[in-house]
């Protein structure tokens, strides 16, 4: 099992969610985050004084995927989240040791 952590532009959430569901991957956790990579922020003016808005809003999707489906999942997420403009985001893959379904006690890939 692998954990996919995808940082994407907020308006791409629905598209990515649909793409993952179409692959048969049902569960995910979504958080609103702020961040930047190469996309810089911008400045605003409030009552005559400038301030920098360095951190941009993004969405973080965390989804644990059976190892066999990782490559396909990466492909659909990247394709759904991509706009071609700077700031599209990144996807990180990390290993997961164990998984348990709270309701039934199923473990590992049967719990996904």
């Amino acid at each position: 099992m692998k954990l996919l952590t995808a940082i994407i532009k907020p308006f791409k959430l629905e598209e990515v969610r649909t793409a993952l569901t179409d692959l048969g991957l049902e569960g995910m956790t979504v958080t609103e985050v702020k961040g930047y990579g190469r996309q810089k922020g911008h400045t605003e003016i409030y009552r005559g004084a400038e301030y920098a808005v360095s951190f941009l809003p993004k969405i973080k999707i965390e989804i644990v995927v059976p190892t066999a489906q990782v490559d396909k999942a990466l492909e659909v997420v990247q394709s759904a989240a991509r706009t071609g403009q700077i700031g599209d985001g990144k996807i990180f893959v990390s290993p997961i040791e164990r998984t348990i379904r709270v309701r039934t006690g199923e473990t590992d890939e049967t719990a996904l």
Binding site: I45, R47, A49, E50, Y51
Partner: protein, 457 residues
């Protein structure tokens, strides 16, 4: 900053164009149609009816001014950060209440001692609380005793609310309220007695119809004195002239507050005619409402055009300040001007705000809501420009009043703030200020479930 200078010239050009488009409107006004009605315009109706209408005017315009307390509360709540909103609301409801109590206990008779009541002639009135006659016996004047006290009290409370905006986000609650006790019980009534209480400024011919100086500049001077002694919010100003904006938590609340103040101002200026029982008085109140509205509208639009041109974007908070500056500017003389003159007067108020808000920041005077530009600077402008529209006023006398009241209020406020600073202290600790006054002073969060509120989980 040549970009700024270029934008500035464009801004001035834009306002001039705006003014020229308005110019045709200045042909009208003033001359009423020659066919006068058969009724006498100044004759009062029967004395009982005159009494009733005057009382009605005081009561209704009085509660409109009371409603301005809600306006200030919402405007300030919207312009401070979330962690300080409950504290700001607390200050506002407290100061309105304190104003009422102090104006009953001391303020009213200190401000209106009557011809024989002065302790120091035309300068210091008398010290005693207010009592009201029984309704059946309240026939001594042209209006009910309580209605006059009520109407004057809400003006006193308005003065106090000006101070809370400037000093927001870094002042402890009780030292602030102690200052308000002194402001509403002594400072405001004494300077008010010099003019409306028929004291020495009134004898000189100083003219301040509804309080550009007596209320707005008075509050503004007290706020300025406090701001100088209190210091800026932690992190507001950095080295090398850096200014760090701290955007307000709720633009809808700030906007609502401004509209509420605008509404209340019809009472503030309209009620200051002090009489409603004749055709002329009724017409005067109507004229005041119109001039009041136009000055505010002009202030908004000038502020919007200027911020668009100078900063490339309209700044909503400056537009809101522009409305209030327009209102303050017309407050010293809302009756005499023709409509086009009110538009000019209010518009200049908008200009004042756009340029003096950043100026205060340059001087490292931290005014959270722009109360000093709106109430003090526009108040001075409004008081001086009375000489343009009111033939009985004269600019030297106006300036004398501005200076005398300015000196008295600023010095007495400064002394009081200094006394509080060096005895019980004014500021919370840096940690308390950073965590927000809601938690440290009040123990109640404005938005416990949102943002970094403690009830988010």
């Amino acid at each position: 900053m040549s970009d700024f200078k270029r934008n500035l010239s464009v801004g001035i050009a834009a306002v001039t164009v705006l003014a020229l488009t308005v110019a045709p409107g200045l042909a009208q006004d003033a001359a009423a149609p020659a066919a006068a009605a058969a009724v006498e315009k100044t004759a009062a109706t029967a004395p009982n009816v005159d009494y009733i209408f005057n009382t009605l005017l005081f009561l209704m315009t009085g509660f409109l001014v009371m409603w301005m307390a809600a306006g200030f509360a919402m405007l300030e709540a919207g312009l401070v950060r979330s962690k300080n909103v409950a504290m700001q609301c607390t200050k506002n409801i407290a100061l309105y209440s304190i104003g009422g109590i102090m104006f009953w206990l001391i303020g009213y008779n200190l401000m209106y001692p009557g011809d024989d009541g002065w302790i120091v002639a035309d300068t210091i009135g008398k010290f005693m609380p207010v009592t009201m006659p029984a309704p059946g016996e309240d026939t001594g004047g042209a209006y009910a005793t309580g209605s006059d006290w009520f109407f004057q009290m809400v003006f006193c409370a308005t003065t106090a609310s000006i101070v809370s905006g400037t000093l927001a986000e870094r002042i402890k609650l009780w030292p602030f309220l102690i200052f308000i006790v002194v402001l509403t019980g002594f400072i405001y009534p004494i300077q008010g007695s010099w003019e409306w209480g028929t004291g020495w400024l009134d004898d000189m011919g100083f003219s301040d119809f509804a309080g550009s100086t007596l209320v707005h500049s008075c509050g503004g001077w007290a706020a300025l004195a406090g701001a100088l002694l209190l210091g800026a919010r932690a992190g507001k100003y950095g080295p090398n002239g850096a200014i760090n904006p701290m955007p307000g938590s709720s633009m809808p609340l700030a906007t609502l507050g401004t509209f509420i103040l605008w509404l209340g101002w019809f009472g503030f200026n309209g009620g200051s005619q002090l009489a409603l029982g004749s055709l002329e008085n009724a017409s005067a109140v109507a004229r005041i409402f119109v001039n009041t509205n136009m000055a505010a509208a002009s202030g908004v639009l000038v502020a919007m055009v200027l911020t668009q041109v100078i900063y490339g974007k309209v700044d909503l908070t400056m537009a809101l300040n522009g409305a209030l500056a327009g209102l303050v500017s017309i407050t010293a003389e809302p009756l005499a001007p023709a409509i086009w003159q009110s538009v000019v007067i209010g518009g200049v108020g908008g200009v004042i705000v756009v340029f003096t808000v950043p100026l205060l920041d340059k001087l490292r005077i931290d005014d959270v809501v722009g109360a000093i530009p709106v109430h003090l600077f526009a108040g001075i402008w409004g008081t001086l420009i009375v000489a343009w529209t009111n033939a009985d006023a004269n600019i030297v006398v106006q300036a004398t009043g501005v200076a005398a009241i300015g000196a008295f209020v600023f010095v007495s406020s400064f002394v009081m703030w200094a006394f509080l600073k060096f005895t019980i202290g004014l500021r919370p600790s840096l940690e308390d200020e950073t965590n927000g006054l809601d938690m440290s002073e009040i123990g109640i969060e404005a938005y416990p479930e949102f943002g970094t509120g403690s009830q988010r989980i």
